[in-house]
Symmetry: C2
Subunit: 365 residues, 2 copies
């Protein structure tokens, strides 16, 4: 049974994002997930692969990504068979990507169950992560169930989706029904959620059997379903990529949460304490990172700081930084660009990127 299960277990690592809020480290041609953000020698994608590896063998690990990143992925994950990289010719959020991956995997193995995970998050408690996902897979493999992973909120974050916990099940795994989903609440509501205790952050990790999610798409997102169900007979043939390239741009730009999860009735949540961060932006990276006595954070560079506090210094390679009298700044340096911006002003980065594009051209972003 163990072995049969393992053979049927697949993982889809979603790595098509552009991580623009980590500019200039993260650029359109080399986004965050492909960077060694912590100087460990492994990119966030490679760390995600390493983390999931105990649950799935390489031939059962698939990657969905923009066509531009296929070569980077091949280089970073040479263990993955080339046919496991599902390239997308356009960015269309998670619903089309997840639907396409489900059909692809179902065609390979109708018994398949799938873990869908982002490629650019941080998980510090790897054993807990494995245990949560193992229990989750055991749960979804038993029936027609869509499972999300919920994380206990530590702040009234307005950028995440929230999952309200529903009825408990008669099940030792602690998995519960989902009562409601709420996308990106305003700050008042986020504070209420945090105080209430019933609301958990949506981690963006989803578990299900391939047939379960296909059924859900048929029911709740027929437009998307129709596009990809037509590919059934082409999967594994040269026609698959050609078909995807033709129809993918016409898919709606929509998240799986909105397209399916908020509508489906068979949605469950497993709460988890896995030392998680979505590494959303510089400020988050600052907050989760170890600090010097002066409250400075150093990423991939050697810094000589005097009379400087609360900064994050990021560079690459052998670069050194000498800093004096600077408080509360992001200093992020690449070969192409240097950004110096107050940590608390990091929301400006999107605007900055537009300005950079306008003044200096696309090649810098």
């Amino acid at each position: 049974m163990e072995t049969a299960n393992r053979r049927n277990r697949y993982c889809v690592i979603m790595c098509g994002g552009i991580g623009s809020r980590f500019w200039p480290m993260s650029r359109t041609d080399m986004p965050k997930q492909f960077l060694d953000m912590f100087g460990t020698g492994r990119s966030l994608l490679q760390q995600t692969y390493d983390r999931i590896r105990p649950l799935c063998d390489p031939e059962n690990i698939l990657l969905t990504t923009n066509v531009h990143y296929v070569d980077i992925i091949r280089e970073q994950l040479p263990e993955i068979p080339a046919e496991n990289i599902l390239a997308e010719p356009a960015r269309r959020n998670t619903a089309p990507c997840i639907c396409r991956a489900a059909y692809h995997i179902y065609a390979r193995n109708p018994e398949a169950s799938i873990i869908n995970i982002p490629s650019d998050h941080l998980v510090l408690k790897e054993n807990a992560f494995i245990e949560v996902l193992s229990q989750g897979m055991d749960f979804v493999e038993k029936g027609d169930r869509l499972l999300t992973i919920g994380l206990k909120p530590v702040s009234p974050h307005t950028g995440y989706g929230y999952i309200q916990l529903g009825a408990t099940l008669d099940d030792p795994s602690g998995i519960r029904k989902v009562k409601s989903f709420t996308e990106k609440p305003d700050i008042e509501m986020a504070r209420t959620f945090l105080a209430n205790g019933e609301f958990y952050w949506n981690s963006g990790m989803f578990l299900w059997r391939a047939d379960s999610i296909i059924k859900a798409f048929e029911q709740y997102a027929p437009e998307i379903n129709t596009l990809f169900s037509k590919a059934r007979d082409l999967i594994g043939t040269p026609g698959e990529a050609e078909y995807i390239n033709t129809i993918y741009p016409s898919a709606p730009n929509i998240s799986v949460d909105y397209a399916v999860m908020e509508k489906a009735r068979n949605v469950y949540v497993k709460t988890a304490d896995i030392g998680w961060s979505d590494l959303e932006n510089w400020k988050v990276l600052y907050e989760i990172s170890p600090k010097t006595m002066d409250g400075n954070v150093t990423q991939n560079c050697r810094v000589l700081a005097s009379n400087s506090h609360g900064n994050i210094f990021a560079a690459s390679g052998d670069k050194i930084m000498v800093v004096s009298g600077l408080d509360g700044f992001i200093v992020a340096d690449t070969d192409q660009a240097l950004m110096i911006c107050p940590v608390n002003d990091e929301r400006r980065i999107r605007q900055v990127l537009n300005e950079v594009k306008e003044h200096f051209g696309e090649k810098f972003i």
Copy 2:
């Protein structure tokens, strides 16, 4: 007469300095004088050469420098004959360098007169510069005279030498006797000098006949003179470099001002208004450079600055900088090192260099 004069006129460009106060742009292996500080396409040395060129032909322009910089000079000034680069195996301030150059030039041409100039200064009024030096050369060629160029002080600078103007001469050139030299006064004295009006900055430019300065060394600095007078017979032979390499390290580390000028009786000064700056450090560069409406200075880079004032941004190549909320900083970026330091704290740079050396090694400075 004109032609005879020109044939006898030599220029010695001193370019052995290490410009440490412009770190990280200026490094021991590529000091300030070899950098294109203003993005004009010509280094400070090349600009100095261009500036002096109307007065001397390339075969009469010599360079004194540390042996490490010979290749850089050959590359930057291919017009200069290789034998005109007088390499020094050690740093020994200006007195040994000037004495050695005088003997070298005298051996080539006993009628020679010499303009000694630093390689790393800025001169904005090039026509005035030429006129001042022409008049000065006419003056020293007439007799046994040592001429300095004095610059009207614009601040009570404590880092310069001051020349007190003495008796006027019966001469339309406005050249005067020197009453006294004062090296690096304290701030009180510098203020008094500035208010007095009789005190001028010592520019580090000196004019004399080769025989006059040799005579002065014989009289006032016999220790130095003895070292280099022994080379007379070797000049122009392969033995010259070998001899210099052997004895140069034993020469006293002393300036020509202190060794000769302060003691000699035949010292004169020509005051000049030539738009001069010694480009001493980042703060000076900030002060003399054109500024944006927000008071920012940009050197060799493209900057997108918002809510930022009074900064100097320096980089190289195609690098862009995006800066927000920064006031009064030097941001100087090279491939190896990034320095961020308050403009008013630039005096720390020497200390910083020691710390960099200690923490990261000599290769960064």
